[in-house]
């Protein structure tokens, strides 16, 4: 009886794991099945490197370069905000804060991760964007800068909590050795502890990158949505995700425009897949090395 129960338990967990993998494969097959036929009609270089996205115009054109540039610009902008904030709070929590303060600060920062992205979007659109417009005397507050700030705050918990794990995992004798050699606390943190946790920190940044480039709601609401290469941080941009979200609902199923949106999805999938592989490698290195 006991053996039977044990076996049953194993089968159930095995089935759960199998189901997860099967749904991943199903999603991949679905996206590629609908997106790949697109490249039979529009060449890959034209799709990737030309800059004119008019999918419903009488003379359709599918140049996604401005959308790719939009995604990268918003994501890099978000990282420029999230890395200093996230890494700073991780160092504070892991190295400087007293244990009581740590108990409070860590969950509070992680609370940021629990706010739904549509709430961030609303906040950005109704509150931050008008302020940004006034502060910098702009024509419009819906732009790369505003989107980067909101998205940056959104991914702070990812960078901070994973970096903090990495910092906390650095063995105590490294700190003690450094202090014993006469290094100050700041020198110990930046020359001994942070380098030792390097791969974990890089991994956290890559995960933050993956999260930011895939985020849809915030950029749809706050980035403005002009399909062009941004010339300044106050230009509005249209990332890949918001293009898919905005155009999927009303398009004719299975026509070229529909397929082009799945082609964008393949592109996004490829970007996040590579990022996840890289961060997996970074974390893996830490575990083994």
């Amino acid at each position: 009886m006991k053996i039977l129960k044990e076996k049953l338990f194993q089968v159930i967990t095995y089935a759960a794991a199998l189901f997860t993998i099967a749904s991943l494969l199903g999603i991949i097959a679905g996206i590629f099945g609908r997106g790949l036929p697109f490249f039979g009609k529009v060449s890959l270089p034209e799709f990737l490197f030309t800059n004119s996205w008019y999918p419903t115009h009488a003379e359709q054109s599918f140049g996604a370069w401005a959308l790719i540039a939009g995604s990268l610009a918003v994501t890099l902008g978000a990282l420029a905000i999230a890395i200093p904030l996230g890494l700073g709070s991780a160092i504070f929590i892991a190295e400087i804060a007293s244990s009581r303060l740590r108990e409070i600060a860590k969950p509070v920062i992680e609370l940021l991760a629990g706010i739904p992205s549509v709430v961030y979007g609303l906040f950005g659109m109704a509150f931050l964007a008008p302020l940004v417009r006034q502060w910098f005397d702009l024509d419009s507050g819906l732009n790369l800068f505003t989107a980067s700030v909101i998205l940056g705050v959104m991914i702070v918990p990812i960078v901070s909590s994973l970096s903090e794990d990495a910092l906390s995992a650095v063995p105590h004798n490294i700190r003690e050795a450094s202090l014993a050699l006469g290094a100050t606390r700041a020198e110990t943190i930046f020359k001994a502890v942070v380098p030792a946790a390097k791969s974990g920190i890089i991994g956290s940044v890559l995960l933050g990158f993956g999260r930011a480039i895939g985020e849809t709601m915030v950029v749809l609401m706050v980035s403005g949505g002009a399909a062009r290469i941004p010339g300044s941080i106050f230009d509005s941009v249209r990332p890949l995700t918001s293009t898919i979200a905005a155009e999927m609902g009303e398009t004719v199923m299975c026509d070229l425009h529909f397929q082009s949106l799945f082609a964008l999805a393949i592109l996004l999938f490829a970007i996040t897949f590579v990022t996840n592989l890289l961060s997996e490698a970074a974390f893996g290195k830490r575990r083994h090395g």
């Binding site: 004119s52 008019y54 999918p55 419903t56 115009h57 009488a58 401005a66 659109m125 109704a126 964007a129 008008p130 417009r133 024509d139 419009s140 507050g141 819906l142 749809l220 609401m221 403005g224 949505g225 002009a226 399909a227 062009r228 509005s236 249209r238 918001s242 979200a245 905005a246 155009e247 999927m248 609902g249 009303e250 398009t251 004719v252 199923m253 299975c254 026509d255 425009h257």
Partner: protein, 269 residues
Amino acid sequence: MKKVILTTILLTLLALPALAKGNRLTCSGSTTVLPIAQATAEAFMNANPELDISIRGGGSGVGIAALMNGTVDIACSSRTMKAKEITQAKSKGLNPTPYAIALDGIAIVINSANPVKNLTLKQIRDIYTGKIKNWSEIGGNKAPIVVISRDVASGTFEVFNEKALAGAKVVSTAQLLASNNAIATTVGNTPGAIGYIGLGYLTSSIKSVSVEGISPNSASVKDGSYPLARKLFMYTNGKAAGAANRYIAFIQSAAGQKIVQEQGFITLN
């Protein structure tokens, strides 16, 4: 005991669709039509408690595709079916039938602090294609125009594209927002902005301009003098029958059209 409860729940879940099928009506489609569909469905279900109408958004394209796949009974659409969709339906042996349920005007909106009162269709076209860049060129203050458009797949864009742009390409610096509400909010807090939204979404922080001297209101939309107007539709496979027929007839009736008006749209006649 636990097992009994679990089995009961599972069985109920399994049996639910079978029980409900007879008096169940499902609609999906255009987000513009959504408020009309929801409000009329509520009123119609109050009068006919045995009926269960479920309404979902998703967009006109999604609704029409769902109708052709047989997953819904009614597709809501803010545009007529496109040639490609009709071909798809024909190839499946289906014959989707449109029922007009309301009229909608598309208002050109600007910030309420903007003194401009009237625009010609040519001026609107020049603004959206990037030829006119400053409000001073068309009698306004010296301030750059912030052009705001809808996502190119929306029904609202389609009508605007056909009637105001005449197929010209929207300038790539134009901002793109995904809903009527988003445009209303943004125009409301951006002094130099211009956008276009369904008449039902006008708020106090924005104002509509007249087009070719005709202001958008129910009279000018009904008699066809206001140039940026459209019909809203519900599609059924073949002629509407049974509950679907009764529901659509209700929307077209005086009581239904009163709800249409309450939702900020314009009645059929």
